[in-house]
C-alpha cells in the first residue's frame, strides 16, 4: 500500500472525475485539477469566491464550482481552459447546485427553496421548477440519467414530479401519501422510486416509474421512524435503517420484509467474527519524556494498532443519547451495500465505534468491527467486497471477507482522516483530513490480516 504526499484542500471538496483520470480539489478559491496517477497539477482555475460545492460533469469534461454566499456558479472546461461560464442567481440566492446527468444542464436551487432553475449550457435557456421541497433528499436522478425525481410541496401536500432529462418534460406528477416527505431515491434499475416520510412517521412508499403506488411499508407507529434508506446495487433489496436500532430489508418482488437486522449491545450467540481494534502503545520510559520528544510527538500520537478477534460474549460500548434533543444520536444512520450486493455495512449511532457487516446471502451478521473511537465514514470498494473506514485518527481501516487490517497513514503533523472516497477503479482511496488530503494506492494483490 502506497501513500502519496499530503496536499491541501478546503471544505472537504475533493472529487475524482467519473472516468477516473483526474482529481479535482478546491483550495480556498482555487480549483486544482491533477492527474490521478502522477498527481501532477494539470490545470489551475481561480473562482470568484470560496467554493462551497464542486462537482464533475458526467463526461469528465466540465467542473462546476458553486459559491453559495455569492449566489454564483462557475463552470470550467478541462479541454479548453480559456472557456468560462458564470451563472449568477442574482438576489434570489443559491442553496444548492448540481449537474444534470447529461453534463450540459445545471440545476440550481434558490434560497428558501423558492424554485429550481435549470440552466442549459447548450442553449442558455432557462427552465423553472416551482415549489421544490426543502428536505433531506428532494432531488434524485435515475442511474441511467434519463429521469429526474423531484419532491414538491404544494398546499401542505407532498408531490413527486418525474421529469425526462432529455428535454425536461414533466412525465408524471403525483401526490404521495406521506405526512412530510423526507427523501426519495431511484432503484438502480430505474424502475422503482422509494419515497420515505420524516422521522415522525415510519412510512416507506414504493412507486413505479409510471407513478403507480406499488407498496407501502410501515414497521411501527409513533416512535421515531426511518433514519436512512439504501437500495442494493442489484435492485433486489431495499434496506431501511430506523431509530429503533434495526435495519429492515424489503425484497423487490413482494415488497415485504424478508429480514430484520438487530444491533444489540451484547453479542452472545453469533457466528460472526468480532474484530476489536487494539492499540499498541509504545513503551515510553521516563527518560524519554523530554521536551524534544513531546514536541515532535509523532511517536506518541501515531500509536500502532491492530485488530484482535474478541471471543464471545462481546459488549459493545453504548452511549445513551440525550432524550430532550431532537434527532437523537440513536438508530441506523449509515447503510451501504457492497457493489455485488453481497454485504451490507451499517452503523448504529448508539454504538458509534462499531461497524456491522451483514452477509446478504445468509441474512446474518458476518463481522463487527469495534474501533477505539467513533467511526466517521465508511465506503465500499466500487468493484470488490472491501470496506474502507476511518475514525478521525491517522489510520485507514480495511475490511474484506478474508480479514481486516489497520494501516497507518504516514503523514507528518497528525493527519486526521475525516472522510474517504474510493477511486472508481477500486485501486486507490482518497483520504480527506480537515485541511489536507492524501491518496492511498492499494496493492494489486490482496492484503491479508
Amino acid at each position: 500500500m502506497n501513500f502519496s504526499e499530503v496536499f491541501k484542500q478546503t471544505n472537504q471538496l475533493c472529487k475524482v472525475s467519473p472516468d477516473g483520470k483526474y482529481l479535482a480539489t478546491c483550495v480556498q478559491y482555487r480549483l486544482v485539477v491533477r492527474d490521478v496517477s502522477t498527481l501532477q497539477i494539470l490545470q489551475l482555475y481561480t473562482c470568484l469566491d470560496q467554493v462551497s460545492h464542486m462537482e464533475w460533469s458526467s463526461d469528465s469534461l466540465f467542473i462546476l464550482c458553486a459559491m453559495y454566499n455569492r449566489g454564483l456558479v462557475q463552470v470550467w472546461s478541462l479541454e479548453q481552459p480559456d472557456w468560462h461560464c458564470k451563472i449568477d442567481e442574482g438576489s434570489i440566492g443559491l442553496v444548492s447546485s448540481r449537474w444534470s446527468p447529461d453534463g450540459r444542464h445545471i440545476l440550481n436551487t434558490t434560497e428558501f427553496h423558492l424554485r429550481v432553475t435549470v440552466w442549459s449550457l447548450c442553449t442558455k435557456a432557462v427552465s423553472y421548477i416551482k415549489h421544490p421541497k426543502a428536505c433531506q433528499k428532494a432531488v434524485d436522478f435515475s442511474r441511467d440519467g434519463r429521469y429526474l425525481a423531484l419532491a414538491e410541496r404544494r398546499d401542505c401536500k407532498d408531490y413527486v414530479c418525474v421529469f425526462v432529462c432529455d428535454d425536461w418534460h414533466l412525465l408524471r406528477h403525483f401526490e404521495t401519501e406521506t405526512q412530510d416527505l423526507a427523501g426519495l431515491e431511484w432503484s438502480p434499475n430505474g424502475c422503482v422510486l422509494a419515497v420515505w416520510d420524516s422521522c415522525l412517521e415510519y412510512k416507506v412508499l414504493l412507486y413505479s416509474l409510471d407513478g403507480r403506488l406499488l407498496s407501502t411499508y410501515s414497521a411501527y407507529e409513533w416512535s421515531l421512524g426511518v433514519k436512512s434508506v439504501s437500495w442494493s446495487p442489484s435492485s433486489q433489496f431495499l434496506a431501511i435503517g430506523s431509530y429503533d436500532e434495526k435495519v429492515r430489508i424489503l425484497n423487490h418482488i413482494t415488497w415485504k420484509k424478508i429480514a430484520q437486522f438487530e444491533h444489540p449491545a451484547i453479542l452472545d450467540s453469533t457466528k460472526a467474527t468480532v474484530y476489536k481494534e487494539v492499540e499498541k502503545r509504545p513503551a515510553v520510559g521516563s527518560d524519554e519524556m523530554s521536551l524534544h520528544s513531546i514536541t515532535i510527538g509523532t511517536t506518541l500520537f501515531n500509536t500502532q494498532s491492530k485488530y484482535e478477534i474478541s471471543p464471545l460474549p462481546v459488549q459493545i460500548p453504548v452511549v445513551k443519547p440525550d432524550p430532550d434533543r431532537a434527532n437523537p444520536k440513536i438508530g441506523i444512520s449509515a447503510l451501504a451495500f457492497s457493489s455485488d450486493s453481497r454485504y451490507l455495512a451499517t452503523k448504529n449511532d448508539n454504538m458509534a465505534t462499531a461497524v456491522w457487516v451483514w452477509d446478504m446471502q445468509k441474512m446474518s451478521l458476518q463481522a463487527v468491527l469495534e474501533q477505539t473511537s467513533a467511526v466517521r465514514c465508511f465506503q465500499w470498494d466500487p468493484l470488490r467486497p472491501r470496506l474502507a473506514l476511518c475514525t478521525g485518527n491517522a489510520k485507514l481501516y480495511l475490511w474484506s471477507p478474508g480479514g481486516c487490517v489497520s494501516v497507518q497513514v504516514p503523514a507528518e503533523g497528525g493527519f486526521q482522516v475525516q472522510s474517504l472516497n474510493w477511486h472508481c477503479s477500486g485501486d486507490s482511496v482518497i483520504l480527506l483530513g480537515k485541511e489536507q488530503l492524501c491518496l492511498c494506492y492499494m496493492d494489486t494483490d490482496q492484503e491479508d490480516k
Binding site: C85, I87, G93, W119, H169, C191, L224, A326
Partner: protein
C-alpha cells in the same frame, strides 16, 4: 350362703392389709367346712376367739375373753352387733355415696366426652375454614402480583409513550424553530429586497455554447416527443418486468426440478424401505402402494406435461408434502425402534437386518478378494508372458501364432485366386482367338454375301423359292457364326438351342448377364466345380466386369453390323 361368703371375703379383704402370717393361717383353717358354715359345734371356741380377735381389730370392745369359757356376754355381743350394724350401715351409706359419686363422675365423663367430640368437630371445621381462607389469600396474593406486574407494564408503556411524545415534541419543536428561523430569514430578505433598489437579475454568461453530450440537436417539445417519452418509459418498465419474470421462471424451474428430484428420492427411499422391512409395513403396504401407484402414474404424466397450471403445481407440492410426512413418520418410527431396542436390550428387531447386512458385507468382501486374486493371476501370467525367455523354434513358431489361422486362410485364398487368374487368362486368350477367327469369318462372309448378292441380282427371277434354302442356310450360318464368339467353349447343346429359334426373329437384344455368365461357365451349373468362396465371386465379378465392356463392345459392333445388314437385306 353367698352372702356369708361375700361377708367373709369382705372381711378377709379388709384384714389383708394388716395381715400376719398367723392370721392367714387361722383364716385358712377356719375357712368353710363341708357344709359351708363358719361355725359348727366342734369349732365354737376357735370361732369365738376368731370373732373376738376380729372385733378387736375393728376397735370394738372384746366380746369374749379366753378364760370365760364358751359363755358370751350378751350385752357385749348385742353391743357388738349393734356396733357392727352401725358400721355396716355406715359402710352401706358410704357405698351409696360412692356409687352416687361414681355415677356422677361417669356422667361427668360422658359429658366431657361429648364435649370433646363436639370441640373436635368444631376444630375440624375451623381448620378447614382456615385452609380455605389461606387458599383464598394465596390466590388473592397471586392476583395482586399479576396486577402489580400489569401495573408495572402499563407504567412502562406509559413511560415509553411519554418518551415517544417527548421525542416527538422535541422533534416538532426543532422543526418549528427551524421553520421560524427560515421565516425570519425570508422576512429579512424581503425587507432587504424592498429597501434595496438595485435588483440583481439572474443571468448566465457563457463564452460559447457547447454542444450536447450526445451530439444531437435539441428537439422542440411536441406531442410526438411526449408520446415518445411515454413510450420509452413503458418500454423500460416492460423490459424490467420481462427480465424479472424470466429470472423468476428460471428460479421456478430450478425449484421444481429440485422438488421433483426430492420427491423421487423420497419415493425410492420409502419403497426400498418397504421391501426391506416386511414386518409392520404390510398394513400400510396397501395404502402406500395405491398412493405410490398414483404417484408413479402422475410422474409419467408430469414428465410429458409442463407444470404451468395451478392445479399441477398444487399437486406437486401436495405430493411432496405427503411424501415428506411419510418419510418423517418412517424416520420417527425408526428412531423409536432404535430407542426401544436400546432400552429393552433385545436386538431382535435389528438382528435380522444387521445379520443380513453382515452377510452381505462378507459376500462382497469375498467377491472383492476373488476379483483381486483373478487380477493378480492375470498380471502374473502377463508378466510371465512378457519376461519369460523361449528358444528360437518356439519363438519363431510363437512369434506370429495369433495370425497363423488367418495366414493359412490367406494362403488358400491366394491359391484360388491364382487359379482363377489362370482361367481368366485362358479365356481371354480364347476370346482373342475367337475374335480373330470372327474377323476372318466376317471377311469370308462378306465375300460370300457379295457373291450372293451378285447372284441374286443376276438371278432375279419370280422363282425365289429355290433360293431360300441357301438364304436360310446362309442365315443360319450367320447365326452360327454370330454365336460362336459368344459360345466359344460352349457345349453343342447350346448351338441347337439357339438354332431352334426362327431366323426371322433373331433376338438382337444382348443376352442377360446370367446367360453370359452361364455360357462362360463362370456360374457353376453342376456341382463339380471347385468350392468357391465369396472372395472368388468378388474376384470374378471384378475381373469379368473389367472385361465386360470390351465384350459388350464387340457384341454391339456385331449387332450394329447385323442390323445394318438386315436393313440392307430388307430393302
Amino acid at each position: 350362703m353367698p352372702e356369708s361368703s361375700t361377708v367373709k371375703d369382705v372381711l378377709s379383704s379388709s384384714v389383708e392389709c394388716r395381715t400376719s402370717p398367723l392370721r392367714r393361717f387361722s383364716l385358712t383353717s377356719l375357712h368353710r367346712n363341708s357344709l359351708g358354715v363358719f361355725c359348727s359345734e366342734d369349732n365354737v371356741q376357735e370361732c369365738l376367739s376368731h370373732i373376738s380377735q376380729e372385733l378387736s381389730s375393728f376397735g370394738l370392745p372384746p366380746v369374749w375373753t379366753a378364760g370365760g369359757g364358751s359363755e358370751l356376754n350378751i350385752v357385749a355381743v348385742l353391743n357388738c352387733m349393734y356396733d357392727l350394724i352401725q358400721l355396716h350401715r355406715r359402710g352401706l351409706r358410704t357405698l351409696e355415696n360412692m356409687e352416687v359419686e361414681q355415677l356422677k363422675s361417669n356422667s361427668n365423663v360422658d359429658f366431657l366426652q361429648l364435649s370433646t367430640t363436639r370441640l373436635k368437630e368444631q376444630l375440624e371445621i375451623s381448620k378447614r375454614e382456615n385452609t380455605g381462607l389461606l387458599e383464598r389469600e394465596r390466590q388473592l396474593q397471586l392476583k395482586v402480583k399479576s396486577l402489580q406486574n400489569c401495573l408495572k407494564n402499563e407504567k412502562e408503556e406509559v413511560q415509553k409513550l411519554q418518551n415517544v411524545i417527548a421525542s416527538r415534541a422535541s422533534q416538532y419543536n426543532h422543526e418549528m424553530k427551524r421553520k421560524e428561523r427560515e421565516f425570519n430569514k425570508l422576512k429579512e430578505r424581503l425587507n432587504q429586497l424592498l429597501v434595496d433598489k438595485k435588483e440583481k437579475k439572474q443571468a448566465i454568461d457563457v463564452l460559447n455554447n457547447i454542444g450536447r453530450a450526445d451530439g444531437k440537436r435539441s428537439l422542440w417539445k411536441t406531442e410526438k416527443t411526449e408520446a415518445k417519452h411515454e413510450g420509452e418509459m413503458y418500454k423500460t418498465l416492460l423490459s424490467d418486468y420481462d427480465t424479472r419474470q424470466r429470472e423468476l421462471q428460471l428460479e421456478n424451474a430450478e425449484l421444481r426440478k429440485v422438488l421433483q428430484q426430492m420427491k423421487k428420492d423420497m419415493v425410492s427411499i420409502l419403497s426400498s424401505r418397504k421391501q426391506a422391512a416386511k414386518g409392520d409395513k404390510h398394513e400400510h403396504g396397501g395404502t402406500q402402494a395405491a398412493s405410490e401407484e398414483e404417484d408413479e402414474v402422475f410422474d409419467s404424466s408430469k414428465d410429458s406435461v409442463e407444470l404451468y397450471c395451478v392445479h399441477a403445481r398444487e399437486k406437486l407440492t401436495n405430493s411432496i408434502r405427503l411424501q415428506w410426512r411419510r418419510l418423517k413418520s418412517h424416520v420417527e418410527r425408526l428412531d423409536s425402534q432404535v430407542s426401544s431396542a436400546q432400552t429393552s436390550e433385545s436386538k431382535t428387531a435389528d438382528a435380522v437386518p444387521r445379520e443380513t447386512h453382515e452377510e452381505e458385507m462378507d459376500r462382497l468382501k469375498l467377491e472383492i478378494q476373488q476379483c483381486k486374486d483373478f487380477i493378480q493371476a492375470q498380471q502374473q501370467l502377463l508378466q510371465q508372458q512378457l519376461s519369460s525367455p523361449c528358444d528360437e523354434e518356439t519363438a519363431s513358431l510363437l512369434s506370429d501364432c495369433y495370425m497363423l489361422q488367418e495366414k493359412e486362410r490367406l494362403g488358400d485364398e491366394w491359391k484360388t485366386l491364382e487359379e482363377q487368374r489362370k482361367i481368366f487368362e485362358r479365356e481371354r486368350r480364347n476370346f482373342t482367338e475367337a475374335a480373330i477367327r470372327l474377323s476372318h469369318e466376317r471377311k469370308a462372309f462378306e465375300e460370300e454375301r457379295a457373291t450372293w448378292l451378285k447372284h441374286q441380282f443376276l438371278n432375279l427371277s419370280p422363282f425365289s423359292d429355290s433360293k431360300k434354302p441357301s438364304l436360310s442356310k446362309s442365315k443360319s450360318a450367320f447365326l452360327i457364326s454370330a454365336e460362336t464368339e459368344v459360345s466359344a467353349a460352349v457345349a453343342p447343346e447350346k448351338f441347337i438351342k439357339h438354332q431352334s429359334e426362327p431366323p426371322s426373329c433373331v433376338p438382337l437384344t444382348s443376352p442377360s448377364t446370367a446367360d453370359l455368365y452361364r455360357t462362360l461357365c463362370l456360374i457353376p451349373e453342376d456341382s463339380s466345380t471347385k468350392p468357391k468362396t465369396k472372395m472368388e465371386h468378388v474376384e470374378e465379378s471384378s475381373v469379368f466386369c473389367g472385361n465386360a465392356p470390351v465384350r459388350h463392345k464387340l457384341w454391339d459392333d456385331i449387332q450394329d453390323r447385323t442390323l445394318s445388314q438386315e436393313k440392307n437385306s430388307s430393302i
